[in-house]
């Protein structure tokens, strides 16, 4: 089978988010980058599916030239090739992102049986790119998936809901967005990293249409305004902790 996995480069935020002066983005001067957590798992899932069923896998991203780092990371896990839709780093809204991915899939010589996404990106959280892509391609789509099993041209998926897991069966080709927890991504091996350096990256630079969900500015919400009560230092603080738990009615 042939699997495409779409990922997004996002900053590795620590405890506090700092914005650029123009409030258009997160200041990344002191930050590293990664792919969104759900997508890290979708890349791992793609590699596992190919290991099980044979075939080939491709990783796609829409992002600045530096996003090649994330494509190489995915290829280090075992993905075979990459498609890089190169941007100037400015934000693309979800409609434009989906349209560019659809165009790239249409132009690709590969025909995909399964197109994987993360359910939502860590930074944008728009919850819609996979569904827009599926709709444009006329493919069945399900989101928020925590288990995938491919058998006889169908894919069985499980989605966590209150009280258990709902089961879906989609005919291939299909679009599926996964959630973290579907697997535990492997740590890329050194030979894997070496091989990834030589794998092919197909680059295009799509034009960015006007956004219809148009970012005006970002803002960091106000702090909790909490007064922190220091109960003590080291094990000597234990009686004070139990005192707090008792006040809250939690000591039985």
């Amino acid at each position: 089978m042939n699997v495409l996995v779409c990922v997004k480069r996002v900053p590795l935020t620590g405890g506090k988010i700092v914005l650029t002066d123009d409030k258009q983005a997160i200041s990344t001067r002191h930050l590293g980058f990664t792919v969104s957590p759900h997508e890290e798992c979708s890349a791992e899932e793609a590699v596992r599916l190919i290991e099980q069923h044979g075939g080939a896998s491709t990783v796609l991203t829409l992002g600045p030239p530096e996003a090649e780092e994330q494509l190489r990371d995915a290829m280090a896990l075992g993905i075979d090739r990459a498609v890089h839709l190169v941007t100037d780093g400015s934000e693309w809204d979800p409609e434009a992102t989906a349209a560019a991915i659809v165009a790239a899939i249409g132009a690709d010589e590969q025909h995909y049986d399964l197109i994987l996404f993360g359910t939502e990106s860590a930074d944008g959280g728009n919850y819609q790119v996979p569904i827009r892509v599926a709709h444009a391609l006329g493919l069945p789509c399900i989101t928020g998936i925590k288990a995938i099993e491919v058998r006889d041209g169908t894919v069985r998926c499980e989605q966590e809901v209150a009280g258990g897991r709902d089961v879906y069966e989609l005919p291939l080709p299909a679009v599926i967005s996964v959630k973290e927890g579907i697997n535990l991504p492997r740590y890329p091996s050194v030979p894997g990293r070496m091989r990834a350096k030589k794998k092919p990256v197909l680059r295009t630079d799509p034009a960015r249409p006007d956004a219809r969900l148009e970012l005006v500015r970002l803002a960091v919400p106000g702090g909790s305004g909490k007064q922190t009560e220091v109960l003590g230092t080291g094990p000597e603080a234990a009686p004070a902790v139990v005192g707090v738990l008792r006040e809250l009615g939690l000591v039985r």
Partner: protein
């Protein structure tokens, strides 16, 4: 806004209206438009009197009941088709849903099939051309002010950002059943089975006490002290993403933006630095006690109570103190 605001209502397992959908009703009412709602069901039996009264209390003039024999099972594309048909029949100026998993999924389907932009997890929406929205990103660590173009406006409401409050004037809600036309292709993806959750233990999402460990725990075995304290308090064990990535705990224990969102009476965070990814999952805790050797750790900025120290010393001492307190 003079045109109708149409709210998709998600039903709770008990057959009532989900709390997040009630919040969506309160959010939509602020648009100042006539308020209508859409419910989806397998038969055109009217909602119970209790449910209707509940919807009426929010000032909903009409609830559209989309009935189709296939709607007994959730089918995202088909349900979205029904919502889009209801929106078209009332010439809705806005279609609103809760920012739940299903709310976001369904509205994205509506957006894709109608070719409209959509804003997910909004906390404010001011109609206009374009409309102005404020939405949450990074699991709530960041706000985005944006312009939302197109009509109808499509938006989901960030969970627990707006209180569900009744309207000043309740409405006598009319029930308008309709039979949407559903294409076979839209029924391809539907729930075909259910795997029940494993029984036993206190669920992380519902626990009154959650004791969590982070990278500072150091190993899978290190969690024994966390488990002991959680057990003494009748609580659940949680952890940070660093811990699940290291394979020390299963992902089901993860508290965070990509894990479980918790709302305990107290959250005891041990050896957790307080990355935004983690804080997005524990914002709902009523009290936060942080135990960390680094007095500068960012988690202390959100903590109600702080203990500066090594969790491997502090946590067993708390457990010992609890046992002592019980013995007396």
């Amino acid at each position: 806004m003079s045109t109708t605001a149409l709210v998709f209502l998600e039903q709770s397992a008990e057959g009532g209206i989900d709390e997040l959908s009630e919040q969506a009703l309160s959010f939509a009412r602020e648009l100042g438009a006539p308020l209508e709602a859409v419910l989806i069901g397998a038969a055109d039996a009217a909602p119970s009197a209790a449910v209707l009264q509940r919807i009426g209390a929010h000032g909903v003039a009409t609830v559209h009941l989309a009935a189709h024999p296939a709607f007994g099972a959730y089918a995202p594309a088909a349900w979205a088709s029904a919502i889009a048909q209801a929106a078209q029949s009332v010439s809705a100026g806005a279609v609103i849903a809760a920012g739940s998993e299903r709310g976001n999924e369904l509205l994205a389907h509506v957006a894709a099939r109608t070719g409209r932009p959509m804003a997910a997890n909004c906390i404010a929406l001011t109609p206009g051309a374009p409309a102005e929205v404020t939405r949450v990103r990074w699991g709530g660590s960041l706000l985005e002010h944006a312009r939302l173009h197109g009509s109808p406006l499509l938006a989901t409401v960030a969970p627990h950002a707006v209180a569900a409050t009744p309207a000043a004037a309740p409405a006598d809600t009319a029930v308008a059943p309709f039979a949407p036309e559903i294409a076979d292709a839209d029924l391809v993806v539907r729930v075909v089975g259910r795997v029940p959750a494993a029984a036993g233990g206190v669920s992380l999402a519902d626990a009154d006490v959650v004791v969590s460990g982070g990278r500072g725990v150091g190993s899978a075995e290190g969690f024994s002290v966390i488990e002991e304290l959680a057990e003494l308090l009748g609580g659940a064990v949680g952890c940070s993403r660093a811990v699940t990535s290291a394979g020390w705990r299963p992902h089901t224990d993860q508290v965070g933006q990509t894990g479980t969102k918790i709302a305990p009476e107290i959250y005891i965070a041990c050896g957790i630095s307080g990355a935004t990814q983690h804080m997005a999952g524990c914002k709902g805790a009523k009290k936060l006690l942080a135990i960390n050797p680094d007095g500068e750790a960012s988690i202390f900025a959100s903590a109600d109570y702080a203990v500066i120290g090594d969790l491997h010393e502090v946590v067993p001492a708390i457990s010992a103190e609890l046992r002592k307190a019980r013995a007396t």
